[in-house]
Amino acid sequence: MNQALSDFAARLRALIAIGQPAIAKQQFAELALDLFALQFRSNSAYRKICRAQGATPGSVEHWTQIPIVPTSAFKELELSCIPPEERASVFHSSGTTTQKPSRHFHGVESLALYEASSWRWFLENVLPDLQFKRGAGGAAGSSPSGNPPPAIFLTPPPAQTPRSSLVYMLDVVRRRLGAPATAFVGKINADGAWELNYDALRAALAPGCQAADAPPLLLLGTAFSFVHLLDWLGEQNLAFKLPPGSRVMETGGYKNRSRAMSKMELHALIAARLGVPIVNIICEYGMSELSSQAYDGEKRNAEGGGRSFCFPPWAAARIISPETGREAADGQAGLIRVCDLANVFSVAAIQTEDLGIRRGAGFELVGRASPAEARGCSLMNA
């Protein structure tokens, strides 16, 4: 393994462990340029892209000038600094079956960083009231004190979905919370689609909803799995009241796996059928090409600025006008670009196909580049 990248990863892990104030803007900028220099050297596929644009570590002066890679490039190229023999796993993008998926390769060290990044920001946003102890040694900031809430995951377990970065992340949360493996109540059906195991779900939900002094519950899943859950509750004429303080984390779009509904509609239904107030419903924004996630957590809602997604201090999002390629004006939608320092072993500067509008320190998700499939045929093999 490349020692310089390993050192960078260790440095970043230490900063993440200290927490939010540890990475000031200035330091982010310096780290990003350092990482660009390392990736330029270690990632030959990326180097070619940079060279074609005439960008080198010598010519790039500010982190916003670091050449980006579109998420679609992960479908075509092996954008990795990890030699094939050291790759422990690969995360694929979800999407239509006719398309090649994105491939984001991981090794032991990149997964450790993925875990540190994901867990830290998840805690800050989804469970901000859990207190952390500054433990001695390497475990600093890594485990909550007090009793972690029981958790239910509406996805298949990691053994069934080894290519899903979302499920990997959820399993990080599960392990850190000390929840059992049976907390995953989803499964893969005969068509390869994700669905819910309703018996397991009922068994998992019932105890917490019946006992008067039950601890708050954490319910996590994709937007479409919540639709499946809500439809099932409707069909069964069931409504659960999750214990006070319970939280819901939902993520991702619908991808034709369920009927689509607006975020407001979905959250209103979750509130009505599961008894979780809307302020306790948190959205996650993540993708296989990144190692950090953004949340529109309740803390941010409470600040009164409306819901907006925020990445952790070791990742920064910019909104780029698709017309001009420059930073979009305030209030204008643009493509979301993320510079994620936790992507140490692939490429840090990523351009998504999602549209966002800047809102304060974060962004609001407003749409997606329209796919060619919308006009009838699904052919796009790029």
């Binding site: 892209i49 679609s72 075509e76 698709p322 407003v366 329209s370």
Partner: protein, 454 residues
Amino acid sequence: MNLPNYFLADLPPEAKLSPAMILEACQTLKRNRGRYLAARPTQSLVNFLSGLAESWRRREFPFRRFALENAGKAGFSRATLERGMDDFFVEFTRDKFEALLVQEFGGAGRLDGMSLAGAEKQPSRAALVRTPEFQVHFGAGNVPNPTLMSVVLGLLTRSAQFVKCASGSAFLPRLFAHSIYDADPKLGASLEIAEWPGGNLELENALFAEADCVTAAGGDETLDEIRKRLPLHVRFIGHGHRVSFGFVANGVLASAGSAEKIAARAADDVVAWNQLGCLSPHVIYVQSGAAVSPEAFAGMLAGELERRETSQPRGEISQEESAAIASRRAFYEVRAAHSPEATRHWCSQNSTAWTVVFEADSLFQLSCLNRFVYVKAVADLKTALESADAVREKVSTVGVAAPEEKIGDLAEQLARWGATRVCPLGRMQNPPLTWRHDGRPALGDLVTWTDWEK
């Protein structure tokens, strides 16, 4: 211009349509059709339609001026809309209407009375062409001309018509309907225009219950949904999404001068209706082996598109469409960095106005449209057709540029392969009035014959 409140589409956006309103509109249309349209001679309708088209081509025609002043509402720049409308309305002449009726029915008077025509004289059989009392059109959202064409053919066939426009696409159909009403209120009284997002079962079922014939443009799923909901006796004419491409034979690329002319014709097809129609090319296949290489041709096309941006700008598009182009460009930038010999791209500066992607790989690729076109190198037409095999069932038009002596051969190859229309490159978005849409009769599918064997 203040449009009178005459059609459902004229209602303020907050007005809510109900099935009862739809039913009432349908009954009124049918009644008016019986009074004013059913017995109107074909010649009178042809005179009316050709006169109306002439008006639309006059600069000072108020409806035209209003359309152009509000071109953005139709989704186009003024110049693009103007060119599109001029090319569209030029087809509606008396001669061409007559040619259409002869092509479809063997004579121009066959809707007016029992008559004999052509081969039918031999066994001494007369026939009358009967047309549907009431046609319902579900218009496409991307370009306006197919919807206007449906209205024209609906009038020619003396049907009461209800046009349901996709969300946000009623502007031009509505204006066209007002121009009909203005010129001949009796004809306008047999026409209704409304707009709602497709899939409103309450409204649509009310409409289908009254229809004799439903025409619809849209994706396969949409068409399937509509077809399933129609009563058995209702005739359904669905036009699914189609794709088109160009083919440039190496025989016309011997010199830069002639190649530039061909590139300008390809640009005509890319620029027309911002490439959004089913007849617009996604890919231009260019045969290699001539002095001007496919890659050089791509560069010429890029230069031509840049010039067009001055004379006929693309105009604003939605954020999602713009993002699709930016994303696609970013992808090809990566591909070009990795295989500069096989991929190249040319882009408008500081905008997504036009993009040309050259690829040595000939595999057919769907464009994200709005003036984003692929140029792909092929050894011959056979290779192009093999490369486009995945869209074989979906191809409408192939625009061809080839030496005179080769064109017949190429057209026959294309026909046998499955293309339903072959035309000169540069004319892809200008089908004649007699065009057999999707390879089907232009009017024949609408009508019912009564034969009289004497």
